[in-house]
Amino acid sequence: MKPEELEVKAAAELAKQQAMDVRLVCCSSTGCQSSGAADIVARIKADITERGLAGKVQVGGTGCMGLCSKGPLVRMTCKGHEDVLFSEMTPDLASRLVEEVVAPVANGEEIHDPVGPLGAHVVDLHAAFFAMQERVVLSNNGHADPEKLADYLVHGGYQGLRKALTMSAEEICQEVLASGLRGRGGAGYPTGLKWDFAHRMQSDVKYVICNGDEGDPGAFMDRSVLEGDPHAVLEGMMIAARAMNATNGVFYIRAEYPLAVDRIEKAIRQARQAGLVGRNILNSGWSFDFDVRLGAGAFVCGEETALIASVEGKLGTPRPRPPFPSVKGLWDKPSCVNNVETLANVPRILLNGAEWFAAKGTEKSKGTKVFALTGKIAHNGLVEVPMGITIREIVETIGGGTGTDRKVKGVQTGGPSGGMIPESQFDTPISYEHLQQLGSMMGSGGLIVIDDHDSVVELARFYLDFCVDESCGKCAPCRIGGTQMLHLLDKIVAGDGTEEDIANIRMIAQAMQKGSLCALGQTAPTPVLSALKHFPSEFTERLKQPAAAEA
């Protein structure tokens, strides 16, 4: 395909969409699929066909719109009316919508109320849940069909790559560095710098790897991006490849995410067919292709050196760094491992420019961040917010608080590597630095809300149990220290703990932080330490004998 054909295809698809009287898109991500989305789409299609309206009404799928707990969601674009979002749809409700709203509109009748009989199911698109969000990575979710390349093109798809093909590798690295984009996989390393290191390495073969392992339990940001906008991740990887002169791309995706794997494989096939992947991409003479590998249920494989070992078919255990993957990675060749969300930001940066991106967020944390908002929260789901927004705004305004008569006690960010943040600190802005100051971390974006009935001691124990279970056992501080610490926490949970046990927990924590080989062991004590820091009384209250003196 020639570069100009991108616009031609996009324009054709857009014209087709605009010619439609009504457009109905149903969330086709895993959450809504499991609430019955497929039956709804099938019913709408059947009803439309039966009425002979196929040429006037478009029916399709789209990525996660964020309100997963109220799924399946259907978004309706009706000529002459504002978009309407319907929640908790059923096939019968869909039929009524077709009968009382869609069909009349398509038949040219005046209707005054596009909501019709479904008033109780309407979600206010102007409500804080949506109004306070800023969507970059999730911008296509709710609009484009992830299974259609043409839909991605309508929304500026592959224009970032097109631009990158006219730039030198240095220029791309510079652009991404100037945008301030930092890795969304947890550590927050500047993406442009990482690419630049790999770019400087001399090698005939280099790899760019997408980390789609998303092992943090309770987090599903990367899943939603892979399922909801697979082409954006592909495009991001190709731009990364241009920035470091990589020759091959590898997707590493959790086996527990079959739909994500399916969507990525489909996107690769579509892009290859269109001449966007494979040989002589967009007539530039450049060739690049992808491989897809599946994880197999090991959290530690999200760590980049373990991930590389796993792609090589070996046991997924981390190895010491240096050498860093950018020097010696997959098959000993220079490699760059990037997170899904990081990569999905890249096409938008190339398309809109570094300044556009850098204008969002705080001084050192630019852009937006996707969070999976779960736990004791009214609006359970997926949100994308500008960096710098406060935790309170996310939890109370966007999330709607606990939604019960209980009070919010705090949040855990960063999953098993992160920490608890008490409600008293909720006015802290979200940024890599601020979260670290609070004894937590950004992590990949899990945000779990706990209320005043939840015990932080038990939650800390839960996370530690997870880390002990997932430790690969390669190094002693993590393997032995973790087990010992868990034993002490068990004692405290059971009401048999002593002050000495708490002191020992702190000692072991230090040994693990200093002596563990990878971040799993280094950060495994974080949930416990942060709970001790912010909620000391919850520990002392559980000790065998009430502490004689408050510290």
């Binding site: 086709s28 895993t30 959450g31 699929q33 499991s34 609430s35 497929a38 399709g60 799928g61 309100l67 997963c68 707990s69 799924g71 069909d145 299974e147 998303e214 092992g215 943090d216 339990p217 309770g218 987090a219 599903f220 899943r223 959790r254 086996a255 527990e256 079959p258 739909l259 399916d262 489909k266 096939r269 590998r293 599946l294 994880g295 197999a296 249920g297 090991a298 959290f299 796993s310 792609v311 090589e312 078919g313 070996k314 046991l315 997924g316 999976a372 779960t374 736990g375 359970n380 789901g381 997926l382 855990q412 999953g415 899990g446 706990i450 939840d454 939650l459 839960f462 996370y463 997870f466």
Partner: protein, 179 residues
């Protein structure tokens, strides 16, 4: 573990020999693809029987010890036939906070087995899993890939009744047809 003890009263399913040969040929060409070959094998049989692992090893030129090292390191692989209905209760954080341990215990009581076990008749296998990525629907369980979201954690019986009614078949990813 001796070859057959674990499979005594379960029908031993085995991929026809040529199927494994084809599978091995396909993946042999790619470097480091043992894990992918095992995924495909398990995708077809529901688990990785010892006989099939041996055959795969012979065809791909990989020692059996290496194959078992991989099979036992990665939690996803099953060495025994898991039964007709694999019930996976999510024990990830979002589900945990919403009471999934209670649901798991309830199912244990209903079925008279512990997590990680199968019923003697081979009908049910119960397992705790980390996170199914549908955390918005917490707490939840999945049976042969079908997700049962927003469960009442005190009603394990109701969940099992629904499973009996639905008879979910084991399927891989759902896929829409539109390209």
């Amino acid at each position: 573990m001796s070859e057959d003890t674990a499979l005594d009263d379960v029908e031993v399913e085995e991929a026809p020999e040529d199927e494994i040969v084809v599978l091995a040929q396909k993946w042999k060409k790619k470097r480091g693809s043992l894990i992918m070959a095992l995924h495909e094998l398990q995708g077809r049989l529901g688990y990785v029987p010892r006989e099939s692992a041996m055959k795969l090893g012979r065809e791909m030129g990989i020692p059996l010890a290496n194959i078992y090292e991989v099979l036992t390191f990665y939690n996803y692989f099953k060495l025994e036939s898991p039964g007709k209905y694999i019930i996976s209760v999510c024990t990830g954080t979002a589900c945990h906070i919403k009471g999934s341990p209670k649901l798991l215990h309830g199912i244990e009581n209903e079925l008279g087995i512990k997590e990680g076990e199968s019923t003697p008749d081979g009908e049910y296998h119960l397992q705790g899993v980390r996170c199914l990525g549908c955390c918005g629907l917490a707490p939840l369980a999945s049976v042969n890939g079908k997700v049962y979201g927003k469960q009442d954690v005190t009603d394990a019986h109701g969940l099992l009744e629904n499973v009996k009614r639905d008879e979910p078949m084991h399927v891989a990813a759902e896929s829409n047809d539109a390209e």
